[in-house]
Amino acid sequence: MLKILQTLDRRWIFLAMFLAVAIPLIMGMTFPEKTSDQVMAVFNAVENLPDGSNVVMALDYDPASEGELQPMASAFTRHCALKKHNIYFMTLWPQGGPMIQRSTDLLENDYPETYKGKYGSKYVNLGFRAGNEGVIKLVVEDLKKSYDTDVQGTNLNDIPLTKNLKNIQQVDLLCNVSAGYPGSKEWVLYGSAPFDIPTVIGCTGVQAPIMLPYIPQQLTGMLAAIKGAAEYEQAIINRYPELNDNPAAKEGLKRMGPQLVAHVLLIGLIALGNVIYFWERKQGTA
């Protein structure tokens, strides 16, 4: 048996991982989440703003990382919509445009009374600008130097939300969801830290350790990976219980089932690997 394991084709491991993710996903397993302090800090940052505050939603990710980050972006958008905030969408990723589209669709379809047909007065899509951190440096100093029009080519001076907005130091909160460079780190280094812009972020699990040192001084809070998204969704549901019946408000929670089984599989694989290792050592082959 151990000899078979020693020469195990890694495709069997791949198959096990496929099943570990697919089965709970198909079965729709969800578990209750307890909201951690870090996630509560994010929740409170949005919740404690007066209704109708101005929030910049910088969505810096692409389809590749959408699986991990879209639940966060949707949760941020939904929470802002519940608070009737004015939202400015923007992205530093060329593939970010369609990601913004998903959030604006959510606003229009799920919260029509506040946002339907209110483009320009309740939300605006500034779209993509090339230039990475250079764009951040510009928008925190002078928005219109970088963005003279929105995504539809309308001059920002003709849009009610942006008419009097000199730069994003004037907004009440910056929400960034990012999958890498340019992303959260650049927003902190060039945007929120030098100008004291209250900032919350959502990032991939891999990025989380590099963003941890910025909490709580430069960052108010962070959602790390699917776990963070699920906890945030739970916090929103606890505050707005009517969402409990809305499956779209539980995208992150739904992904925690596959994560649980996949993590248990990983632990099993680590244990198995070690059994083989100690057996090899006993045989004197290691």
Binding site: P50, Q170, D172, A193, P194, V206, P209
Partner: protein, 439 residues
Amino acid sequence: MHLWKNVVIRRLMIPLTWFITSSVSLAIAAEPPAPPTQFRAEDVPGDAGTAIDLFWTLSPDDEEDTKPRKVLRYVIYRKTVDGDKKVPSLNPGTKMIVEEENKFEIIGEPTYRVNKFRDSNCEAGVPYMYRIEAVGQEGLTSTPVELKEPVIASLQWFNLQRSWFAVFVFLICGSVILFIEMARKGTIFKVRKIAGLEAINDAVGRATEMGRSCLFVPGIQDINDIQTVAGITILAQVAETTADYRATLEVPTSRSLVMTTARDTVEAAYLAAGRPDEYNEDDIYYITDEQFGYVASVTGKMVRDKPAACFYMGAFYAESLILAETGNSVGAIQVAGTAMPTQLPFFVAACDFTLIGEEFFAASAYLSGEPQQLGSLKGQDFGKVIGGILLLAGCIIMTLSSFESAFESGEKSQVESDPTFLQSAQTYLKENILGKGGF
């Protein structure tokens, strides 16, 4: 009859009640909110005279939990104040023009419970007058409050807030330059062995023996990323070794500029190794800027060609594990080097050797063996000593100061005393070295 009466009374009562309640609520809402107080302005320090900070005390009606809110937002107006034209003129026509020229304009509308605003659209040297109003229900505004005197944003030629930052830049860069100079003059510096770099020669040797190629991946960022530059300098050394061993070296790149730079570098390395004729420009090629398109192409190449040695040197993101695991599955010796802290665990798990962070930057100095390059490593060490001392000093001051505060609160002294030396030191550190002006 009784029923009919009831209906009439009800029909009369409904509009009456509506009239009474609405007039009462109108009477409540009709009141404009109280104005904010203590409105003041300050020039933002350490800037080019382009911003002014405004502060005010919230309107007494701007309370936390009142519903409906009496204050919905504040409106801030600004006008330029022209010294000469401000003199009141007897001519009514002139006065009107002056007023038109210097009309108050809305520059921002901060929401309720907010008590500061930064106007970053100023010109240096121009006096500005600001006015603030609280806006309540139905658009009713409070009486406007103006500044007592105009404020001028002044241009600073040196950002004094960054003085400490400048000192540290000077110290660290100075020490790097000093040690490079010392090395040039003959001082010999000892550098510890880095296993990952020692492995490069072995890996290339093995590839030659097996008649397979070597693959060098310079990360997925452009040449403006210093990690890519560090990767290219290592490429120079790797190329010299492959030229020596007559092994094939392939460099797929994800940026056009990296391709041209890598070509120059490898060409120079082959020239230096005395084998310019063996340099083939087509071995260094561009694939795509798109992260996963690039990965798909490189891993496909790995599976087909089975390189014997893979080097990953540069800035990597999620593709690190895909590359390294594929390399591992084809049995290549793998050496990785990156300063992306997030990707280091993946490289450590899947590669034979990994250059972690600063080791990666030290690699080119180490491989080249040039004394002046080794000198720069000593400069880095000096920077670490400074960093260490600062960390230690900061921790000690903070710890002692917190003990002191605990002791004071234990004594329950109600009298407000001057801050102690430690408390002042703590504040100074926070505001000047750790604060916005510092790092």
